[in-house]
Structure formats: C-alpha cells, structure tokens
C-alpha cells in the first residue's frame, strides 16, 4: 500500500511564490545529480563524498570529521531518486505554508534548526554507529510538526495505491501527520527497546518533529499575533 500526500490545497496568506522551498528543492536535486555523476565517474569518490559530508555518530562524538558542517550538509544529500523524491514531495506539501507563515529567510533558519536538532537526536540514539546518515527527512518532519501546529485543519491531497486500485481524496493535515508519526514512534521504540536495525533513521525523524516546537521563534509578527488570537493563518 502506498499512502502519498502530494499537494496542499490551501492558499497562502502573505506570498504566493514559495521561493525558499523551491530553492531547497533545486539545491537538493542538483546535489543528487552531482553525486550520480560522481558515482558514474568515480564510484570510490562518491562513497568518500558521503562519508565526508554525511552525519556519522562515531565521528561526531569523537570530534572528528566535519562536525558542525556535516550537521548542515547531511540534510542536502540523498541516497537515490526515490529518497530525494519522497523528501522533496513532502517539502513541497508541508513547506510552502510554513514558509508563508515565517518569511523565506526565517523559514530557512528554521529548516536548518530542525535538521541539526534531528541530527543531534539521531546521533544520541546511534552511539557507535559508523554508517553516515543523510537526507532531509529530519528537517522535513520538523516542517510537518510546524504545519500541524499552525494548520492542523489544512487539507492535504492524498494518493492511495492498494494493489492495483488507485484512490485520490483529501484529508485533514492532523490525520496525515498522525499516520506518519505513529509509524515513526513504533519504529523508534523498536530501535530503542528491541534493538531493531532499520535503514531509515526513525529517531532523526522524531527529533526533527520535536524541533518543530521552535516554530514560534520564527513566525512573522502578524502570523504570531493571529495564532495567539486563534485567528486563521
């Protein structure tokens, strides 16, 4: 079964063009293209590239490697087209309205905060793990959390594929985000208590989600005023 949110049908209040969201998507896409070309030319260089700029807990905790730099660069690297596509689709669905509520530059700082916070939480749950963590999903879950705080009743278009049957419908944001959170919490607890090893870093996702509480430091003054007075954003 594939449950894919693919669009947010609400309109923005302040700006119509989400240029920072688009910029992040473009940068991620270009970097993936670069890593693919690198892989074709020099497979060893690609692996070296990931180990240099990915987030490796053993290096972080021993204060080796990129440190703060890898805290940022890891969220712009992806392992493949599907990895990139799923993250960028999520960014498109949830990021636009958060950018609208914050303004493009505060939105970028918030995005980075969520990604770095996700990295810290992931590192603390993967002590001794030498495998690099990459991807924007920590930051993405931060945006999802912010969307849930600001627009819980926002309508999200969903594409559902069950075997060969396709369905398209609209759901409230809280249902969509709850769906993803449940899986993350279940998987996260399996990692902690059942020592299950997943390829996906679920605690990075959850860390990013917890970082969404910082959204109030980045909202436009008018958006904050509206939120505070229960006025629609």
């Amino acid at each position: 079964m594939f449950f894919i949110p693919y669009n947010d049908i609400e309109t923005n209040r302040y700006t119509s063009l989400p240029f920072m969201t688009l910029a992040i998507i473009i940068v991620n896409t270009l970097l993936l293209a670069h890593t693919f070309l690198m892989m074709l030319a020099e497979p060893y260089e690609f692996e070296r590239f990931i180990y240099l700029y990915g987030s490796i807990p053993t290096l972080i905790l021993s204060r080796q490697g990129g440190g703060a730099l890898s805290g940022i660069t890891h969220m712009f690297l992806h392992g493949g087209i599907f990895h990139l596509f799923s993250n960028m689709l999520g960014l498109w669905v949830f990021g636009r309205r958060v950018e609208d509520a914050c303004g493009p530059w505060r939105y970028l700082v918030f995005y980075l905060v969520c990604g770095v916070f996700a990295d810290i939480v992931s590192t603390m749950t993967r002590v001794g793990d030498p495998i690099p963590g990459i991807g924007a999903s920590g930051a993405l879950f931060g945006l999802m959390g912010a969307y849930l705080i600001l627009y819980p009743r926002g309508r999200i278009r969903i594409f559902l594929l069950i075997l060969l049957f396709r369905y398209r419908f609209t759901l409230r944001a809280y249902w969509v985000i709850l769906y993803f959170l449940v899986f993350e919490f279940i998987s996260g607890f399996q990692v902690l208590f059942a020592d299950t090893d997943f390829q996906v870093l679920h605690w990075a996702h959850l860390g990013g989600f917890f970082a969404s509480m910082f959204i109030f430091l980045f909202l436009r003054p008018d958006a904050f005023h509206r939120y505070r007075n229960d006025l629609p954003l």
């Binding site: 204060r63 490697g65 440190g67 703060a68 890898s70 770095v116 810290i120 590192t123």
Partner: protein, 340 residues
C-alpha cells in the same frame, strides 16, 4: 309625446336593445311625470351608476312603498355601495402609505420604506407593486423569495419577479453568491458562513480558491472589528525573533563539540554573543514600530533606509561567528579526509 307613449317607446327600445334611447326617453318621462313609478323602475335598470340606481329605486318606493321586491333590490344595492365605500377607504389609506414608502425610498430611508411596505401588504395582501418593491429592498433571501412569490400569486406574468425569483433560487443554493450578497449587505458573519459552505460544496479548484480568498478577506474585516484581541508587544516580538539564529548557532556548536557543551572553546561562546547581537539587530528591523525606534525616528518608526542599515549591521555581527565555526569544521574535515 304623451307620457304613456314615452313609456311604451322606452320599453320597446329596451326590448330592442336600445338602452341609451330608452334611458333618454325615460329621463324625459320622469321630468314630465316625477311620480311615474314604472318609469323609475325601468330607469333603475338602465343607469350605470349605483348611486343613480339607488335614487331611482328610492323614488319608486316613495311613490309606492309596498313593493317587497323593490325594497329587497334597494337593500342589496345599498349593501354593495357600503362595501365599495369601505374598500375605497382602506384603499385610500394603503395608497397613501405606499406613496409614503416610495418617498422614503427616494430619500434613501430604506428601513422606513420597508416598514411602510410591510404595513401596506398587511392591509392589502394583493398589492402587487408593494410586494415587488419589498422584494428589492429586503436582504434576507428567504423573505425575498416569499415577497416575489406573492407578486407572482397576484400576477403570474410579472416578468421581473419571475427573473428575480429564478436568480434567487439559484443563488440560494450557490453559497458563494450568497456570501457575496451578505458581504454587500455588511453581514460579515453570514458571509463567512456562506463562503465556508462554498469551500466545502464546490469540487472546482478555481471556485474553492475564490471562496477561500473571500473568506480570508471577511476574516480580516471581522478581526479588525474586534477589540478583545490579545496584543503582542513589540518588545516581545523583538525578543522572540532574536532567538532563532542563536538557537541554530548553539545547536551547531553542540554537534561540533561532540554533543558535549563543556568542550566548546571560549572563543565560540564569544561568537555566540556576536550572533545574539547581530540577530537582535536583524530582528529590530522586523519590528520597525518598536517604541525605541519611534523615539529615535519619530512616529513612523524606522524607514526603509534605516532598516537596510540596521540589517547590514546585524549581518556584520551575525555572519563572522558562523563563518568561523564553519571554517573550523572545514579544517577538521580536511584533516579527516586525509585519513580516508
């Protein structure tokens, strides 16, 4: 001509259908013979005016009071006359009120006009024009429909009422247009309700966006009209917006220190102060109407040029700590890369 001849000629004329000639002959006869009962009786059927009929019958009864049928006929006519008179009196009052309503409408006193028109239709439920005028003045769609239905009950061929009713029935289920109607009438809460329904009802994306756009405008208008909103002070906004970049800097330092803040060199803490100062200045530019800026720049607060200068100064303090941290990280990376 003799009176008997006049009577005979008149009766012949009546039977021949020559009512006018018969009337003329009978009038000549009653001039000659005012006490000719037969002439008065024939005349009562030939005159058109009810008053004249009554007079003719009264004259006939004066001459010969013992005519029950004539008495019954006179009583019937008198009843009809009384009814007509009563109807005329009501009509006269209704006419005056309707004229007053039209005058009020011309003077722009819509509410007075509506009130008077309601009185008119209460007294005369078949007043077509009053119902139609009322339908154009009432805002509530249900009452409008009722007024127009009354117009069509009185006059089924009233083209304007038919058109207006058809539009209303369409609008009544078209929540977006209903919302526009309410908005024009200044009924913002009803407009918001209608637009919310329009957003839910329509499956066309463009229509939904249009309804959402109007909904936002209505909500802005409603929020501006409320006075119980919690105010957010400019100082609080300034402090809130200042916290973001230092938070990012702090998290990067935590990663850089191996998630051990005790291993962060003092220089980076000093850099944190620079980040705080720079962030504060950038945040200040986002709150140009803060009382501090108003005391410096006047009531308008920080102008565009001043904001640009403040932002530039802010970045002057904000950027170097980040750059220094990232250069330090690059240095570590280079050392690590040689080992790969």
């Amino acid at each position: 001509m003799t009176s008997s001849n006049l009577l005979r000629e008149a009766v012949t004329a009546v039977k021949a259908g020559q009512r006018k000639r018969a009337r003329t002959l009978l009038l000549e006869l009653v001039e000659q013979q005012p006490d000719n009962e037969a002439a008065w009786l024939w005349l009562s059927d030939l005159v058109d005016d009810m008053e004249d009929r009554i007079i003719a019958l009264e004259n006939a009864l004066t001459i010969n009071p013992h005519r029950p049928k004539v008495q019954a006929r006179l009583a019937q006519l008198q009843r009809q006359q009384a009814e007509q008179l009563a109807a005329w009196e009501v009509g006269n009052g209704v006419v005056e009120k309707f004229e007053e309503a039209m005058t009020a409408l011309e003077k722009g006193m819509g509410k007075t006009a509506v009130s008077l028109l309601r009185e008119v239709v209460a007294e005369d439920p078949d007043h077509e024009e009053a119902w139609y005028t009322l339908s154009t003045l009432i805002g509530d769609p249900d009452q409008k429909i009722a007024a127009l239905e009354n117009v069509l009950r009185i006059n089924p061929n009233h083209a304007k009422a038919q058109g207006a009713l058809a539009d209303l029935h369409l609008h009544h289920f078209d929540q977006f247009k209903l919302g526009r109607t309410h908005e024009k009438n200044g009924e913002l809460k009803k407009a918001r309700q209608a637009y919310e329904l329009a957003v839910l009802q329509t499956s066309v994306a463009a229509e939904r966006q249009a309804a959402q756009k109007r909904l936002k405008i209505i909500e802005q208008k409603l929020s501006q009209s409320t006075t119980h909103l919690k105010k957010t002070s400019a100082t609080f906004s300034l402090l809130r917006l200042t916290a973001g970049p230092p938070l990012l800097y702090g998290l990067l330092l935590i990663i850089h220190s191996g998630i051990n803040p005790l291993r962060i060199p003092l220089l980076f803490y000093l850099g944190g102060l620079g980040v705080l100062l720079g962030s504060g200045l950038v945040a200040a530019a986002s709150t140009p109407h803060h009382p501090l800026w108003q005391s410096i720049f006047g009531k308008e607060g920080m102008n565009t040029a001043a904001r640009a200068v403040v932002i530039a100064t802010g970045f002057f303090f904000l950027a170097p700590p980040f750059i220094f941290l990232l250069l330090n990280a690059l240095n570590r990376l280079q050392i690590y890369s040689t080992s790969l």
